[in-house]
Amino acid sequence: MLKDYMKAYARVFFVQSLWNTERQQNVGLLFLIKPFLEKMYTDPKIRKEAFLRHTEFFNTHPYMTGIIAAFVVKTETEIAKGNTDLISTMSQMKRSMASPLAAIGDSLFSDTLRTAIALISILLTIVFSLIEPDNLAEFGILFPFIFLVLFNLFHIIGKYIFMLTAFALGQEVLLTLAKPSFRLAIVVIAVLGFLTTLLATAAYFIFIDANSLLGIGDLRNILIFASVLVLSLFFAKKYINLKLIITVLICILWGYLER
């Protein structure tokens, strides 16, 4: 059985390889559960029906697909044993699990963990540029790998644990993920990310000021830095291109007036 789990785990990484605009991850999920379905159903007609059941629309966070796959395998095992009532509810159950799991995946991996680890790598790059600017070319390659290794430590192990837990607990895994302790862990990562961003912002200001990169005095440096930060906070996640264009235009105008 462990061999089958490992096989399914290896397939989790391909879940979006045939992502399509119509039914999104449906083929990815089929690819994941295929070894189980082939083993479970020996009657060709019933096997075909089982496969066709999962050609419907399916989409969730790619890191959480393993959980739903485990649930599907558990339910299909029951159906194969003769509990055919589950056929009619499975589709609905799959859909009802996909959305909360996508939200959890986004909160945990995309919005907090990845961002926080990226910020750690950025902070280290800026601090290293301040302390050892001449050695940045030599040791700079380390920083992107710090991001990659740290993130994938959580990603690869997390995916595995999620999937195995789902194989053990079935749908109850959702209750585990909804526990306050799990939510608190996400908040802690977000707070750490926030503090790292503050530190990185301060380190970057020191870097700019120490190297006179804007070509102006101390007080004006602070003023410009603060203005851009406020502009960015004001527009926040929206209008990224507009923010870039405004910044460039102001800088060009500044250069023009300085001629």
């Binding site: 391909f14 295929k34 940045l136 970057y204 060009i252 001629r259």
Partner: protein
């Protein structure tokens, strides 16, 4: 430059870009990783580090969600790094120009990706037909085809974008007046602050929402 050949660079870039959706999601497609690697491959890792840092900060929350596809920031960071290192290495104003010029290419790459996903629908129907005929091997073949399609479409994109964009970049940068060059240089150092602002806001909002249970 360690790798001079556009073909090899395009192939490596395509593999990196496939990580975004096609395989793994190990985050080798994130600018913070791929830009320094391309900086290293094209002879100036420091350029890649800064480019990666800036693009990552600006689009830190840009991830494909369902059918929403943000501009391809992997393409933006790789193209800008390669162009700068090829034509004007070490010039901040050139880095800024390259980044701005790479943004439309990022959108083009996103659209190509979307087109590829539409082609995947045809493969999906072919698989469904195969299941009806009890040909389950089509699932594995389809997954393989999808993966190859991801790599091929990105490879073609980079093969065209690296030289074409490089030519445009060279032409544009050489014709920028001096005062604008100073402006671009300053803007380059201000870009990370824009990113820090967005990140602070995102973390603050997220923490607040989670804490209040909304």
């Amino acid at each position: 430059m360690i790798i001079e050949s556009f073909v090899i660079l395009a192939l490596i870039a395509a593999i990196f870009n496939t990580d975004l959706t096609g395989f793994g999601q190990f985050m080798i497609c994130r600018p913070i990783f791929c830009a320094p690697i391309f900086g290293f491959l094209t002879g100036n890792i420091v350029e890649g580090l800064w480019m990666g840092m800036i693009v990552e900060l600006l689009w830190i929350n840009a991830v494909p969600l369902g059918s929403y596809l943000p501009p391809d920031i992997c393409a933006i960071s790789i193209l800008a790094t390669v162009w700068v290192n090829k034509f004007f290495p070490g010039l901040e104003s050139a880095s800024c120009t390259a980044l701005l010029l790479a943004i439309p290419f990022g959108y083009a790459c996103r659209n190509i990706d979307y087109f590829g996903r539409k082609i995947n629908v045809k493969i999906m129907y072919w698989i469904e037909d195969g299941i009806s005929k009890e040909q389950y091997k089509r699932i594995n073949i389809g997954i393989g085809l999808g993966l190859v399609l991801f790599i091929v479409k990105f490879f073609i994109f980079y093969l065209a974008a690296i030289p074409l964009g490089g030519f445009i970049f060279d032409l544009v940068y050489l014709n920028i007046p001096n005062f604008a060059v100073t402006g671009f240089k300053r803007a380059w150092f201000l870009f990370p602050i824009l990113g820090f602002g967005s990140t602070l806001y995102a973390f603050w909002q997220f923490r607040k929402q989670r804490w209040m249970g909304r």
